[in-house]
């Protein structure tokens, strides 16, 4: 049974107070999913090889620029879509991210891929909530050189609803051949970017550089602007 201590007027025993460690958990997770077009046309301009290289660079740079603790808070997932949708990797810490050797063939089932990505994000957030893990709004990057060859209207509506209700943040990166008019039916026009010369290395370096300040931010710190690469450009609105 504790006894009331006699103090000399100081707030508690100052030594005890100062030496007793105070635990503050500052880990906040960021879930980021890449939805990658691996349709047949991605063989043009060596796009698929550049994409593979970009993914490798993304992983290397993100690991290099973040502490072990921060790395554990960056959860990455990969989906590819062509004639079918494939989950290459479910959400995993960046240190365990697979860097696949993607091959290009077939159609462009983007609608189904986006639906799958949104399902994965929703499930991941439930896991965060169940485990009491604070998290940032998840990011979704869709990289394509064409347009959907499957039904995409429902997926587009769902994505727009999720954005409006702050469930996630989505971006579309289009390379040569991308039908931006159709992309504007799916994504917020302000979130669509073009990418010259299939500069996926530049793109993924930019994404990695954007993740680092977010994951290392403390409460009250202002946002950090990251310069977009010269190969990225905003598309003109319809």
């Amino acid at each position: 049974m504790l006894q009331q201590k006699e103090f000399n007027g100081d707030f508690i025993n100052q030594e005890d107070f100062n030496t007793t460690p105070i635990f503050s958990d500052t880990e906040k997770h960021l879930a980021c999913i890449f939805v990658l077009d691996t349709s047949g046309s991605m063989t043009l301009h060596n796009a698929i090889d550049q994409l593979n290289m970009g993914l490798k660079i993304f992983k290397e740079q993100t690991i290099r620029d973040n502490s072990t603790m921060a790395q554990a808070c960056i959860d990455i997932a990969l989906i590819s879509f062509d004639s079918k949708v494939q989950v290459i990797q479910d959400f995993t810490p960046i240190s365990q991210m697979i860097t696949p050797n993607l091959e290009a063939y077939g159609q462009t089932k983007m609608g189904e891929a986006l639906d799958t990505a949104m399902d994965m994000i929703t499930r991941r957030k439930k896991a965060y909530v169940a485990s009491g893990t604070p998290y940032f709004r998840p990011w979704l990057f869709c990289i394509t050189d064409g347009q959907p060859t499957d039904g995409y209207k429902e997926a587009a509506e769902r994505l727009q609803w999720m954005e409006e209700n702050r469930k996630l943040v989505s971006y579309c990166i289009g390379v040569e051949g991308c039908n931006y008019s159709v992309m504007q039916e799916i994504f917020d026009p302000n979130s669509i970017f073009g990418l010259k010369d299939c500069d996926f290395v530049g793109l993924f370096k930019f994404v990695s550089a954007s993740i680092t300040p977010v994951i290392n931010s403390k409460e009250g710190t202002p946002s950090v602007d990251v310069d977009i690469p010269s190969s990225m450009f905003r598309i003109p609105l319809n």
Binding site: F11, I12, A72, A127, K218, G220
Partner: protein, 450 residues
């Protein structure tokens, strides 16, 4: 008596800015010996003039409540007063912004208000700060619900409107309480404790409220408390929190809370809680991720795990490819077989068509009046065959030469060639020699076989 302390300290992140200001604000009004009204507010980091907004909100509610409230046992009275005060603060912030020709959102802020009479605690709350209280029985309880969005830094401040304000009264008699903005509140009510029986970081917060460990008896004590806590909060007392920090504590010096078991005040096992957090996350997501910073890992173990994951994924990819190839082969075979069948069918159809045409051609010839009967045609055929055979066989000439002349002449008259065998020599010859019993009329096969 009711004593209190109040501290709002600028965070390191704001100090680092050239125009950095503390966006938190707090104040306390003691209306009489037995009643205290306290308010804290945290201006939104994204709102440029939220430091002004937080001050306006706190001063407005305190002025409004202190000018109207009187001691009463009716809970509704206090709660209505709080509600009105929030509405007044809301209108005041918007009016001020408009007078400055500013968007009111630039002044947005959270707001937490308490009315306390030494036992009953009434509150109004919007945003992500909150109130933790100590009951007479020594229990620490969360009085308010945090108004947060899905993301950890998403909240619903004052200007989101009445739909996001909550009001109420603590269920139990309260001997002390603290009001905190999110910088400190998130430590006291850590997410790691969210699934635990004790959701409050008791060892930390009791040093601000518990008269069992705190000397807080008279105004001089509270003055010293104010200094000590201010030094602690403003200094390096809470590492890792760089946001502005506000804490207001109110203590009833007439009550010493009951003490609990030592277990109740024990420091949580944070490492175990962290591991548990990831176990739950991975279980919910059917993953088994490695968290090197939580569980010490040998580097070999980490790389093996990584390699195993890659191998697993590559194996699955290869299996998928093989499966697809098999399916493609099967499809090709099926197509090949089908095309063969189709060709056979076409051939059969053609045969049938042409076959039936030939048959109908022969039938037409028969109908046109030929003197030959079927039997005759067969006989003709046979005769032709046999004549050919006979003419080439010298043995037949020998046999004919032995036939009596009168028989030969009879045969010649009949105009029939007769194949002479032993059995036919004595038998009368008829015109219609049926060749149906060809076996009888045929010479021994051995002599005529070619």
């Amino acid at each position: 008596m009711l004593g209190f302390f109040k501290i709002s300290a600028i965070g390191k992140s704001h100090l680092a800015k050239s125009d950095g200001v503390c966006q938190d604000y707090s104040d306390v009004v003691q209306t009489n010996e037995d009643m205290i009204i306290a308010a804290i507010a945290d201006g939104l980091g994204s709102a440029e003039k939220s430091d002004i907004g937080s001050q306006i909100a706190v001063k407005t509610v305190l002025d409004h409540i202190s000018g109207r409230i009187k001691p009463s046992k009716k809970a509704d009275l206090y709660i209505n007063a709080l509600h009105e005060a929030f509405q007044f603060a809301y209108r005041t912030v918007i009016t001020y912004a408009k007078n400055q020709n500013d968007d009111p959102k630039m002044y947005n802020t959270t707001l937490t208000v308490a009315i306390y009479n030494g036992k009953d605690l009434y509150y109004g709350q919007c945003g992500d700060g909150g109130i933790v209280a100590l009951t007479y029985d020594g229990d620490y309880i969360c009085v308010t619900d945090v108004m947060k969005g899905e993301e950890f830094n998403e909240t619903f401040p004052l200007l989101c409107g009445e739909g996001y304000w909550t009001f109420g009264k603590a269920d139990l008699p309260i001997c002390a309480f603290t009001m905190m903005t999110d910088g400190i509140y998130d430590i006291v009510c850590s997410p790691l404790l969210a699934n635990e029986k004790q959701k409050i970081y008791v060892p930390f917060i009791r040093r601000f409220m518990d008269r069992n460990v705190l000397k807080a008896n008279d105004p001089e004590d509270f003055r010293k408390l104010q200094e000590s806590i201010s030094a602690f909060i403003s200094g390096n007392g809470i590492p890792g929190v760089t946001d502005d920090k506000t804490i207001v504590g109110v203590i009833n010096t007439k009550v010493v809370p009951k003490l609990k078991d030592e277990e109740y005040y024990r420091e949580p096992d944070w490492k175990a809680l962290k591991r548990k957090q990831y176990e739950i996350m991975d279980r919910e997501y059917n993953t088994s991720s490695v968290r090197p910073h939580v569980t010490p890992q040998k580097s070999a173990g980490v790389s093996e795990n990584y390699r195993a994951q890659i191998d697993d994924c590559q194996r699955k990819l290869a299996e998928e490819k093989a499966k697809n190839k098999k399916l493609a082969d099967k499809l090709m075979k099926a197509l090949f077989v089908e095309s063969i069948l189709i060709l056979i069918l076409i051939a059969a159809i053609l045969l049938l068509v042409f076959g039936s045409e030939k048959k109908s051609g022969h039938e037409k010839k028969a109908e046109s009046g030929s003197s030959f009967s079927a039997a005759d045609s067969k006989k003709e055929k046979k005769k032709t065959e046999k004549t050919d055979d006979l003419s080439s066989q010298p043995a037949v000439t020998n046999i004919i030469s032995k036939i009596p002349e009168d028989i030969i002449s009879k045969v010649q008259i009949a105009g029939e060639d007769v194949v002479v065998t032993d059995s036919t020599v004595d038998e009368p010859q008829s015109d219609d020699i049926s060749t149906s019993d060809d076996a009888d009329n045929e010479p021994p096969a051995a002599e005529y076989a070619e």
